[in-house]
Symmetry: C2
Subunit: 127 residues, 2 copies
Amino acid sequence: MNYSRQRELIYKTVVENPIHPTADTVYAIVRAQEPNISLGTVYRNLNLLSQQGLLQKICLPNASDCFDGRCDEHHHMLCTHCGKVFDLPFTLKLEELKKQAGAFPGFLITGCQILFHGLCAECRGKH
Amino acid sequence: MNYSRQRELIYKTVVENPIHPTADTVYAIVRAQEPNISLGTVYRNLNLLSQQGLLQKICLPNASDCFDGRCDEHHHMLCTHCGKVFDLPFTLKLEELKKQAGAFPGFLITGCQILFHGLCAECRGKH
DNA sequence: ATAGAAACAGAAATCATTACTGTTTTTAAA
DNA sequence: TTTAAAAACAGTAATGATTTCTGTTTCTAT
């Protein structure tokens, strides 16, 4: 993977904006500094970076994929009302869970994503 | 929700084919019995049925949404090589996990989806 | 320097999914 | 039973996210 100014900018944008931006949001932010960047470049690099393990791609129900600059093991909570994604601010105890999953004969588990859903504090206040 | 022959057929197809079919796969199966059914009808009903809690819609990375006729609490394993989705044949112990997530101030948790990924037995054999 | 590989911008294409339109089916009440 | 309103349908068009294509520019390792 060769260096490119665009890729660095895309990477920094995701890491410095911990709002779990979609490709389109990254594109909007990045264009302020790099007006001619193309949306295809944003998609290509977000995918490359997440394949390399430098970003995490998060797949959400009924919404565009979004990206997370945190790559340590952590999980997410989706507010089904406003659509925002939050990092859970603690480490879940997954050892037992992984042990159970690993016991399924023949499988080789390489990872696990956990997505809680519900209402965030703000949306909860409004209902 | 009124009765319709098409909806019943779509529902039965998902329940009787525990392969986690996509809308397109359901469409292909259903067309054998109902040649003029339209893809829009399949999508509409799969969404209705999962909103009603009669089916579960599963959102996967880099793939179409798929559907599961099992609606008890259970979780999935995605083979990153062949793309197949498997039901985990046991109940994970999520009480502790939910307690932790519920402790995040202000949030109201209504559900949780867990997706393991890795290699299934068959794909593992080939590598 | 320079040549080959990688990356780019911009545009077109693809794929999954949803929305629209006019017709048929269902349902509940007259 | 009719019948009228609501719901659902088929078929098609539209949308939105994402990927692919093409010709040009930028990196990088000699």
